[in-house]
Symmetry: C2
Subunit: 100 residues, 2 copies
DNA sequence: TCGATAGGCAAGTCTCCACTTGCATGCAAG
DNA sequence: CTTGCATGCAAGTGGAGACTTGCCTATCGA
């Protein structure tokens, strides 16, 4: 039941604060295994977000530290995949009261 | 399927940003119907958070705008209750992939 | 009515972080 | 090996918001 705590890991709430990071998660929810440039172009076209490559790279680093995305290096490309598992911390912390 | 959009409503991610606001939600998850002073003392004793009354009041206003707490005025007291319903937006936006 | 309690409003400060700019690294194709 | 592409590292800047201070309103008890 206990989630593994990685040292120096950013908590998911810090990661979810920036709207740009949530947009990146949206883009990855639509399609996994995207590279940095693919994400940049997708944010520009689909989410009306024009950010520099470095900004997105920093966002991906934060999301990686929070465990919300996973990076796989292959040659000169780095593919990013969404990991929704850490999000389960939220309903665990504040359980739903719909049927109370 | 569509959630009612209240005008000028803060989204829940902005509300979840501040650690103090998450601590307030923790305190309300333990016991509902708490007043401002009760919350202040509880944060001080249980969460090692010494904030001024005004700070907590501002946090409660943000949580109220996000729909995460509900305020009920009774005489000179205002009782605060946690509402977890808006949190369902999160797994709806990024569905769990455990059984994919 | 007067003091005490519970809370609200408004403005100021200051820290943090999102974003940029600039430069460096590594792989790949010709 | 050299040019180009994909990415990383580091420092600087600007703005948002978390928190405080100060003052005001309202309700309850004596």
């Amino acid at each position: 039941m206990r989630l593994p705590i990685v040292e120096g890991m950013t908590d998911i709430f810090d990661a979810l604060t920036a709207p740009a990071r949530r947009a990146i998660m949206d883009a990855l929810a639509q399609r996994d295994e995207q590279t940095l440039f693919e994400l940049m172009n997708r944010l520009r076209s689909d989410h009306a977000l024009t950010l520099t490559r470095q900004a997105i790279s920093q966002h991906l680093a934060v999301l990686d530290e929070a465990g919300l995305v996973e990076r796989r290096r292959e040659g000169r490309y780095t593919f990013h995949t969404l990991n929704t598992a850490p999000l389960r911390e939220i309903p665990q912390r504040w359980p739903d009261r719909s049927t109370s």
